[in-house]
């Protein structure tokens, strides 16, 4: 494996170093590398120096390995396993340990506030790092599901743009749904 160093420059002109293998976790960087347009430093005008190290940390963990992150996205179960002829119980156990370890890492990695979450989502989108985008989008979804409309508006700073009349009608609709709970 080559361990060529790549240099990335953040929007605020700070330079960071990353292994080529790790950088390949990003489709955008991979295309730049493969395109041979590598001219010393790759400028990333959409990613600040606050967030770039976090992105690099993710790439280091996942560079050259998209298999395990895919398994996590499927809830840790590899659906294709059953049809593999050389299914190996020991290998399966090792894989489970690997997946568990990765899950734990992701849990710690994802412990940050909403601003970082947004920035990371934007960076993952811009750099086409599918695993990181999935992870961050899933986290945002978890902040929506199970919350009341009021809580969602507050958490995400959303203005309810319903007119007072519409608001009233929406409350009626909500009451109707609440009735679905009630046993008569």
């Amino acid at each position: 494996m080559s361990s060529t160093k790549i240099f990335l420059k953040s929007s605020d002109d700070k330079t960071f170093e990353i292994d080529e293998t790790a950088a390949r976790a990003s489709e955008t960087l991979k295309n730049i590398i493969d395109g041979g347009c590598l001219d010393g430093v790759i400028p990333l005008p959409n990613v600040s120096s606050n967030i770039l190290p976090k992105v690099i940390e993710y790439c280091k963990k996942h560079g050259g390995d998209n298999g395990s992150s895919k398994k996590i996205a499927n809830g840790g179960v590899d659906k294709d396993k059953e049809i593999l002829p050389d299914y190996d119980e020991e290998e399966d156990k090792r894989e489970k340990v690997r997946v568990d370890e990765l899950k734990k890492w992701e849990e710690e990695y994802m412990d940050f506030d909403q601003q970082v979450l947004y920035d990371l989502m934007l960076a993952a989108n811009y750099l086409h790092i599918k695993g990181l985008l999935d992870l961050t989008v899933e986290k945002a979804a978890s902040m929506i599901r199970g919350r009341t409309p009021d809580q969602i508006r507050e958490n995400f700073n959303i203005n309810s743009d319903f007119t007072p009349e519409e608001e009233e009608e929406m409350i009626l609709i909500e009451d109707e749904w609440d009735d679905e709970w009630a046993f008569d």
Partner: protein, 369 residues
């Protein structure tokens, strides 16, 4: 099985209650869904929230309301391509009404249960089967007549639709899914249509020839194991139907001894034994074994137990009469030790719903979408 492509291009939200004039256009929304995030990313975030929340999400703001009704949103949901498993269950208040719920357990969620739209007119004694993201409600009793009606719930769009009718009316039939097809048997008199199979690709039911000595029996439960359909009977013994060669054989006698709650996880058929224990049947060994590590202290209050395999985990729901009637749920991780012993460890367990006294769980189903 897990075909995520949309089978319907119509907006599933058009039938949802609305007193508010909405912009039905599919153009990108000018107002921001999640402030400080581009709408295409916000769409992806919201699309990951399971569909049974969507009704409530439309109360957040006008832009959320119109976004949830747009085809852009639906196609984003379709493209997600991440498999998720949820438990849906149906509570029947004896002789009165039915309620459907979806369970989304998460310690961080303030609540676990979400109401799911009811079947427009749910027959009594329907049989249920799940194909990928769809729940099929088969037959039942309507105005004291056996119904051949089929209702299909698409969990991706959170709504029921009527489906292709069976050839014969039935109630309390048995059903199972094999090779992406629904098999339904019994719950009717002796008939050439006693057993039928539904192919969702072709969209119709076809009768399966079945021997008279099989159709005479009274079946109470079914299970699908090793690509075969096991029909369990109270008294006359069970049978095994193999769709590969359309053969019928007698099932191991031991197998028909238990039928309450039955579900298959990792090839083991689990049942509730009626005395506070869960038992598992290993087809290879041909005997029932206790699931150790999950025994309860006071089984006397338990009225009804149902189970489902939700993404490889054993979910147990039961109705219990203590001070009031309640439905509780346990998520159990099951494993097999090197001696073939069955072990369960409870991941979480709590009361999820208070219900009227005469309630029981008519269906408990794992849905994948």
């Amino acid at each position: 099985m897990n075909d995520c492509s949309s089978s319907s291009s119509a907006s599933p939200f058009e039938s949802s209650p609305s007193a508010v004039a909405t912009d039905e256009s599919d153009s990108p929304h000018s107002s921001l869904l999640l402030p400080n995030l581009p709408d295409d990313i916000a769409l992806q975030c919201i699309a990951r929230v399971p569909p049974f929340y969507h009704n409530e999400l439309s109360l957040v703001s006008k832009s959320w309301l119109s976004m949830l009704r747009s085809t852009v949103f639906l196609s984003t949901c379709d493209r997600l391509n991440c498999s998720r498993h949820f438990l849906y269950f149906n509570v029947e208040i004896y002789g009165s009404s039915f309620k459907w719920f979806a369970l989304d357990h998460n310690p961080k969620n303030p609540r676990n249960l979400y109401p799911v739209p009811p079947i427009p007119s749910q027959p009594i004694g329907s049989t249920f089967a799940v194909l990928g993201p769809k729940i099929y409600a088969l037959g039942g009793l309507v105005n004291n007549t056996l119904s051949s009606a089929v209702w299909i719930f698409d969990s991706r769009f959170n709504r029921w639709e009527s489906g292709p009718k069976m050839h014969i009316g039935r109630k309390l039939a048995i059903a199972g899914v094999l090779n992406g097809k629904i098999y339904v048997m019994g719950g009717c008199g002796q008939s050439t249509n006693w057993a039928e199979v539904f192919d969702p690709v072709l969209g119709f039911w076809a009768p399966i020839p079945s021997p008279v000595e099989v159709t005479r029996r009274l079946f109470c439960a079914s299970a699908v194991m090793e690509e075969k359909f096991y029909a369990l009977a109270y008294y006359q013994g069970g049978v095994v139907f193999d769709p590969c060669d359309s053969s019928w054989r007698n099932a191991p006698t031991e197998l028909s001894l238990r039928w309450r709650g039955r579900v298959v996880v990792d090839g083991i058929l689990y049942c509730y034994d009626g005395f506070g224990k869960i038992k598992g049947f290993d087809l290879k060994e041909g005997k029932w074994k206790e699931l150790k590590g999950v025994q309860r202290d006071s089984p006397a209050f338990i009225v009804d137990v149902v189970m489902a395999n939700v993404g490889g985990r054993l979910f147990v729901l039961w109705v219990e009469n203590r001070n009031q009637t309640e439905i509780s749920c346990s998520e159990v991780e099951v494993s097999k030790d090197s001696n073939g012993g069955l072990w369960g460890s409870i991941v979480w367990s709590e009361v999820i719903l208070a219900v009227p006294v005469s309630s029981y769980i008519a269906a408990c189903l794992a849905v994948e979408f």
